[in-house]
Symmetry: D2
Subunit: 136 residues, 4 copies
């Protein structure tokens, strides 16, 4: 699989008074990339929820904050499947500064498939699992 | 009515790279104060939703950002009813720096009562309206 | 002036448990549009700060939240100058749902030019004022 | 060391349209607890920055999101030093629901001491290191 890439611009809302992006906001950027990656495979998550009753939820993250991103930086946020199981998947993500390719952040994110109403784990809908295994 | 007061501490998450609290976060602080004011009157909003099916939603704000709050500042966020109607109320709010009482922000916030499922306006539950009119 | 338009996608991070975009996040969306509007005129704000020592800060907002935006919605956020003064400008902004053009939010936002170091008001750099008056 | 505990209330701003706290916001809650823990030891971080020129920055997190927190929940966020080095420390944190003590989230957070101006690693100020080693 070639990593999926999603561009993210850093706005004031993302920064803190240390002058750089506030650490938890990188997780938001990474979720934007995962959302757009699923959309690129044909799965808008709102439609998915309405049609199948499932949502994806983050159950574990391991994140290294390597270098800071700054206001107005353009970032490339990538997303690559590491492993797929029946009801979850593990995704590797990186954030690099677009202008010079310097790595700012890297992470492993585990995402579980849940029944939206009960928040209990459930196998991924077959069409998603098939499509993810195809590109993986 | 004496204004209800709720203390809020400024953390890194609230600031931006200008070195001060990011403007939209003052609205979050003001909602925390409204939430705690309602709780002080006996109305936890989650219980309210479960029992009556209604939620409160902000429909209009007019906010003056007078002076900036900084990281680690302790703020006093007040909340005072200006007017009450069947399905909405208008609340005056101020944010002052706790240490010297300097006004940082003042706002008028209009809050409407909505059916949670449909997001349509509905009259406030009677016990809330009565209690608000009592303290008002 | 034709209104500047910036597309914004709604992600989970923008929503709340009411099922819709949390009210203060519309202000973030509007700042993204103002930032991109200034960039489209040739003024990246980080470069501006480094070169002239000034930043823009929101000093007043008047916002009507008309209808809710939902997860996965694509929004058009517009930005149109209403008036320009020496050290501030007033900008009209609207947020509409891209798919059907329904208006979700409209606002007047007053933005002041400040010395970054002292946060005191200062006249806008001439090249910006000239350019804004040209498009206005 | 007995774990330091800081109470956090969940507001609308913290939740997402899945009906629960948005995952990255737990990191914000954990930073609030670390900030208050340092304050309880006598170290306000703004004063620290002004007096010594250093800030603390998160360089690595490993977070398990065990169960979801909901709107209006009261949470206990704990903070316990796992190890201290010259220029960094590793902190174990847990978030439990106050009412029934159920664990919602646990994390290891590595925090580095940086020169605020350059964002380069630097040894912790001696008075902090001494105090942390005393309670540790």
């Amino acid at each position: 699989m070639q990593a999926f890439n999603w561009p993210v611009r850093v706005y004031y809302e993302d920064t803190d008074s240390g002058g750089v992006v506030y650490h938890s906001n990188y997780l938001n950027f990474m979720e934007r990339a995962r959302t757009e990656w699923l959309r690129s495979l044909g799965f808008g998550q709102q439609a998915l929820r309405e049609q199948t009753g499932v949502i994806f939820a983050v159950t574990h993250v391991d994140v290294s904050f390597v270098k800071p991103a700054c206001f107005d930086d353009l970032l490339d946020v990538t997303c690559e499947v590491e492993s797929v199981r029946a009801a979850s998947m593990c995704i590797q993500q990186r954030i690099v500064r677009h202008d010079d390719g310097v790595e700012l952040c890297r992470a492993k994110v585990k995402v579980a498939c849940l029944v939206a109403e009960t928040l209990r784990p459930t196998p991924m809908p077959k069409q998603i699992k098939t499509e993810i295994e195809r590109v993986y």
